[in-house]
Symmetry: C2
Subunit: 420 residues, 2 copies
């Protein structure tokens, strides 16, 4: 067994996996703090904080942080999602202690220099501008907002510009104080790593952190609805979603198999019908994403303004059809895609590191591959059929449209066709 887990006395968890033959390692800290933990007036602060981590600590300037890792040829980065903030690095094996020291420093000792806050505000406003200029990026924020209106789960990770303009050092420090406790953190490392050495380092760096009383984020409530933004773009961007299982739900694998069979690859129904037979679009896919207490089955497609109506109708007709005639062959193919995709993905240390953190965060253990494969094998055609029926016939849909989309049908019309 090369996966090892250790918990410090304050609840900080460490999970490592040694991958024989590798000369590099991926490592990082995943914190249970993301956009869904923000109150309305805090929206965007988790992401702002992620940026400020790189802007200097008590010991290091922004330049020192960048140089420390890049001097040894590594890289360091971070991301914020709805449930987590992750700070991670990839380095050659001899530099793992250095990377861990830098990550702990930026996570625990950010300086929040007011001048640097002002500078970084400009960077984040620019990031928001770039997202707003990218239709197939911003439309997913709108879909999320439509699915979960007036809830932390529905708010954009970057936050609205007007809030980003207002955050100050106290806001940042308060968010850290509230959510960056040791029980909210997981240190994961995969590749050329030595578990005992990492535990020893982690003990030094993190064992002094006091536990926090962290309030759970409000339960997500998938409401659904429609957002339509007409704009003079070349493409009409279409997204359609229905609530799907969260990652603690037994049905989560069924949802994954369903979405793969429906629109996960070139052989899927959606790709075959919309792109291969009709040539309606270049990008088209379905996917299922899972969070703690909810999940989302999503279809995205970009098409022309004249064809967005046809595409919307087709998506719903195919969803309707799949409730009736999902075949053993399709389900078997989706199982193979999930299994092989997992095996191939895990040959990459960064992907493996991320899986370790995710599994420990959800289950406090890392299921071995056989266990996961068994769960995939357990998904029968009958289960997928039942899942599809429940999803399509009782789920509340959400839809976001952007571009020359005046010709697209209303959500209510699509919903009627779905249950007809």
């Amino acid at each position: 067994m090369t996966i090892q887990i250790h918990t410090l006395s304050n609840g900080f968890r460490i999970v490592t996996e040694n991958m024989p033959g590798l000369k590099s390692a991926a490592l990082g800290i995943w914190v249970d703090a993301g956009a869904r933990h923000e109150r309305l007036d805090q929206n965007g602060i988790a992401h702002f904080l992620e940026h400020m981590a790189f802007k200097g600590t008590k010991r290091r300037s922004a330049l020192d942080i960048a140089e420390a890792i890049e001097n040894v040829g590594g890289f360091i980065n971070a991301y914020t999602s709805r449930e987590n903030t992750a700070y991670y690095a990839r380095v050659l094996e001899e530099h793992v202690p250095l990377a861990l020291d830098v990550i702990s420093d930026i996570l625990l000792e950010p300086a929040f220099d007011p001048r640097e806050i002002e500078v970084e505000r400009g960077v984040i406003l620019s990031e928001i501008g770039q997202s707003n200029d990218t239709p197939d990026d911003i439309i997913f924020d709108w879909l999320q907002e439509t699915a979960f209106p007036d809830q932390p789960m529905g708010r954009p990770i970057l936050g609205p510009s007007e809030r980003v303009r207002a955050f100050d050092r106290d806001n940042l420090a308060a968010f850290v104080q509230e959510y960056y406790g040791p029980e909210q953190m997981i240190l994961a490392a995969a590749g050329a790593v030595d578990h005992d050495a990492i535990v020893r380092e982690a003990e030094k760096l993190f064992s002094h952190l006091p536990r926090r009383n962290v309030e759970a984020s409000p339960k997500a409530d998938f409401v659904g609805g429609e957002k339509r933004e007409i704009k003079d773009l070349e493409q009409a961007h279409f997204t359609f979603a229905i609530e799907a299982p969260g990652y603690r739900d037994d049905d989560v694998y069924t949802g994954q198999i369903f979405s793969t069979a429906f629109g996960g690859g070139m052989s899927s129904r959606l790709f075959q019908e919309a792109r291969e037979k009709r040539g309606l679009c270049y990008s088209i896919f379905a996917q299922a994403s899972a969070h703690d207490d909810t999940g989302m089955f999503t279809v995205y497609a970009g098409t022309s303004g004249e064809k967005v109506g046809e595409l919307a109708d087709l998506t719903v007709a195919e969803l309707r059809r799949v409730t009736e005639d999902m075949s053993d062959e399709e389900v078997e193919r989706a199982r193979q895609q999930m299994k092989a995709g997992m095996l191939m993905g895990l040959e990459n240390p960064s992907a493996r590191c991320e899986r370790l953190a995710r599994m420990v965060s959800i289950w406090n253990r890392v299921p071995d591959l056989e266990e996961t494969i068994d769960k995939i094998e357990d998904v029968t055609t009958a289960k997928v059929g039942e899942f599809a029926q429940k999803l399509c016939l009782t789920g509340k849909p959400a839809m976001a449209l952007y571009g020359p989309v005046d010709g697209a049908p209303a959500l209510a019309t699509l919903k009627d066709k779905l249950v007809a």
Copy 2:
């Protein structure tokens, strides 16, 4: 030595590398046929052909192709660049023969069914629309066009919509006839692969192909100039380029080290000055790309309309400064980044497979890592300084601007500042 090369009697080359411990393989065929091989009236056909490969062969429908690979959990894809078209797959090791059979089938026996051509035309027009809607995508096409005006090297890979609307089966067949010869193809495979078995299969599949007399594409001539497209976007997108060494040039490593030190990471001058100190942008980077007979050093940044002038001036001032004071420390860091980046990238079979094909295409052999590392080590600070001087003081620049860019200085003004 785990890298093995074999050439069939008709000139078709095979290169493989076994990577111990892996259970999957990446494999593909790289063809010396891309946008730069197209005459004006053919612009977009290499890419159209790449799409048609997946639309059916004499033995397989489009669905059969997708199912063949996805039934075993693999994936198959393709891309077209200025110099190549690549068809590649990733599968578990037992499915390598199947993947090779599918790739050879789509490459050698495309059906070009006229009905499928019509359908795929719609898909490609949608792809063009999507690119046009994405500012930080389309701006690189404009930069390329500005650098290499009225030449195959400057034309967009997707082609203009009006040409894509006109291509027919004869155009496609003629392009295949002209460029898809055995000497123009390299089969590369990395991961859990058996060289001898692959050679045996390749012998069966490709040894019958007759050689072609392929005309070399016209030599690229970097002319430079400015394109400015004012549009109501949130971000002003700025790109600036100067000709850099092609991949056969001894200076190509110097160019890579220069661009890494100048704007390749968080510790680079450009990132530090523009983003960390001034907060002018979120995305900003410099890179050097290399082709057969030319290359391009490029800076990209997205900023606000009010700040695009400051950003352009800063870029040029930093380029000017780097001709005078590049330090040993910066060059050493860039060398470490290049070396470690290469080592970490090569832990991924897809990246390794692509490197094999590229090296065989350029050098007809695969330099070992030590040889490449020696070339990186040979790049001294003095060489980088001389390179920077030549680049900045004698290079002809190209610039493309998109968005609220009325406030950006003219290229002539920037050029004057560069050589002042």
